[in-house]
Amino acid sequence: MSALTGAGVLARLIVRRDRLILPVWALPAAVYPTSIAGSTAALYPTAESLRSVAGEAMANPAQLATRGPVFDASVGGLTAWTVGSSGAMLLGLVSMLLVIRHTRVDEESGRRELLGAGVVGRHAPLAAVLGVVFAVNLLIAVLMSAVLMSAGLPAAGSIALGLSLAAAGCTFAAVGAVVAQMTRSAVAARGAGVAVFIVFFLIRAVGDAGGADWLSWLSPLGWTLRLRPFAGERWWVLAPLLALVALLATAAHALTARRDLAAGLLPPRLGPATAAPGLRSPLALAWRLHRGQVAAWSAGFAVGGLALGGAVSGGLEGQIDAPQIMDMIARVGGEDARPVDFFLNYLLSMLAWIVAAYGIVSALRLRSEESAGRADLVLATTVSRARWALSHLVIAAAGPGAVLVALGTATGLGYGLSTGDLDRLPQVLGGALIHLPAVWVMTGIAAALAGALPRLAMAGWGVWVVFVLLDVFGMLGQVDGTLLNVIPFTHVPWVLLGQMSTVPLVGLTAVAAVLTALGVVGLRRRDLA
């Protein structure tokens, strides 16, 4: 039996199990760059307007940090700039999670054992999932290029954009394969994989925002942008990307060969024989279950805030030469607004979206605890359903608060260290924390679904994605202003520009409270799974 025996059968099994997820992910991913291109062309019909928006973007360090530089002031160039970073995230993170799902998750649940006892080679499961995920990424690239070309964009740039995003997908699929071998649980594997992504993202973000091109070249997420679709394609950049994918895939296979099934590389550690005196309430249990994530997310955002805060504010004390961006700043913050405050606030708002994603993750703990049957153990004791749910939700509300404190403090520190003005730290901290009520609304949506409509709990993510898309298209002016009001972040005042209003904050908090109450009431009335 060769090491790859059965890989074909396993690949078909993966396609069968994910026959819904794969198209739901791949089709929009392949098509949305073309709709961005359409919006860009409609919004900036002249070469003049394209140049001005490109100049605006290049002058905005927060934009440089999140999306990287604009390499060409054309419809294609701006499309590549708009989707380059978010597309790499979409393809990269989903590819990584898919690989972990079919490796570490299967091992943890014992499904892998069921297959391993059949005629399946040692390397077959990993080869099968990597094969499927690589193939889907290539399909996305082909489809994306075809749709872009059919919309009238240059062929070379269309192909380059498709391949650059697919390369990001394959790279992080391979990262997923490695971390799945090194860790002992799916949660740890996902955490490690996302951490690797964040580190590479930050390296690129700091490099691009700080004008340190060499730094961006240290991250594969910098490489995919520097393939320069629609801006004099540099095809040779595909070579290091391919080499990295090959290297990581080989490493993952080598690790598979060396370890036992279900084991990680690190040996299991023993825990305490008795519980600490404090572990005596559902709240203490919830804290115990969430605290690792709270710490990891806080640490991640602290590092990110420090780096981005410093990068964004470096050399931005004065005025900027882009009249359009000055107009925008003046519109939001009045004539006296300083660009650096605008950019800092902009950065914090972008990162608050990710904090909201963490809030959703925390609230959905309710669902995973229930479906795994662990909720039964607690609810068969004197703990009521409301108390159990609220224990998790209190932490799901406080956790993002801690993360925002870490983010705000670190961003203020980064700003202070690069400008010498540490006095603004409290204000920057406030600028981060002010997003908390909006984050709570997102957490509340997930809580309401997990409590009242458990089968639809994952739709909490759908709402998040829809809001993100609305926001993106709203910035391009393609969405009606009243519709944008459904996005909680629309209502957050720009405090660093001197805006402050408690009404929307109270309103958002009330909405979050109502949503949470709906979830708890729903949970109390229904059967548990």
């Binding site: 649980s185 023993l270 519980a275 559902p282 115990r288 068969a380 004197t382 703990v383």
Partner: protein, 307 residues
């Protein structure tokens, strides 16, 4: 004596599947009650309704004198539950889970916890993810048995235990019984039920088919009789209460209902008994009879399991 559990006419449907179809169940205080039935018969659904994790569509259920849905948290102070498939928190040690569940129930007997850990040979320092199925089961068992409660609800608690640990489990349940606790034991292991239970209820397709003490149930089963006779017997074929009759020359074998033993042995003696073996009815016979007749409903059961 009051009843610890009393259920009547319980109905629970999941979509088009009727998981419980007018179930009756009575468990007296202080008794160990065996709750038997094929897979998908509705045992776990019943247990989940008794624990207030689910609500019945109709029917009446009373647990320790209260309403399992409305009074759930108060009642849970007085009971402990062991699920059939225990999942633990991956990063909590077994000892932490035992202490936590005990405290959430309102206290744990430290001495008893210690002795149970020793008897079940369980290492409490291992993390949840490192335990095998049997060891996860032991964690839940120790947590339940070390709690100071009136009622134990055990849903197939020995499904992952090895025979040695099963014996430890039996001893522990026998001790609980001696302390006057009530035990509802859902199980598939007949020897376990025969060894432990005062009374047994058998359910199938969501309703009760048989209930009573083991002696009463045995009474309902048939004795298998094999006899060597001096002559070929006659008149056996028409006898009431005789099943699976086979006559080969002077040798007779058949199954007979207890009420008709007299007549059978009368006829056999008339033909000159040379040798006879009569196997006592076992719970297994009874079981197989009910399980086999459950087969036509098999498709429905699979449907329910697939949920």
């Amino acid at each position: 004596m009051t009843n610890a559990i009393s259920v009547s006419g319980l109905v629970k449907t999941f979509g088009r599947t009727r998981a419980l179809d007018g179930l009756d169940l009575t468990v007296g205080t202080g008794e160990v009650h065996g709750f038997l039935g094929p897979n998908g018969a509705g045992k776990s659904t019943t247990v989940r309704i008794l624990l207030g994790l689910m609500r019945a569509d109709s029917g009446r259920a009373s647990l320790l004198g209260g309403d399992p849905w409305a009074d759930a948290t108060d009642l849970h102070r007085r009971l402990a539950y062991v699920p059939g498939d225990v999942t633990l928190w991956p990063n909590l040690s077994g000892g932490e889970v035992i202490d936590l569940l005990g405290r959430l129930r309102g206290g744990i007997d430290a001495q008893r916890r210690k002795s149970l850990l020793e008897r079940f040979e369980l290492d409490p320092r291992k993390k949840g993810r490192a335990y095998s199925k049997g060891n996860r089961q032991k964690v839940a068992l120790v947590a339940a048995l070390a709690s100071d409660v009136e009622l134990l609800i055990l849903d197939e608690p020995t499904s992952g235990l090895d025979p040695l640990m099963e014996a430890v489990f039996r001893d522990s349940v026998a001790e609980e019984k001696a302390r006057g606790r009530t035990v509802l034991l859902s199980s598939h292991i007949l020897s376990e039920v025969e060894a432990l239970c005062d009374r047994v209820s058998i359910i199938r397709g969501g309703s009760l088919v048989e209930t009573g003490t083991l002696a009463e149930l045995r009474h309902l089963t048939r004795t298998s009789v094999t006899a060597d006779l001096a002559h070929e017997p006659d008149g056996l074929t028409g006898l009431p209460g005789i099943h699976d009759l086979r006559v080969e020359g002077n040798r007779v074998s058949c199954q007979v209902e207890p009420a008709h033993l007299d007549e059978l042995f009368g006829r056999l003696a008339a033909a000159g008994l040379r040798n006879v073996t009569a196997a006592p009815p076992t719970l297994e016979d009874l079981f197989m009879r009910h399980y086999r007749t459950a087969q036509p409903g098999g498709r429905e059961r699979q449907h329910e399991e697939a949920r």
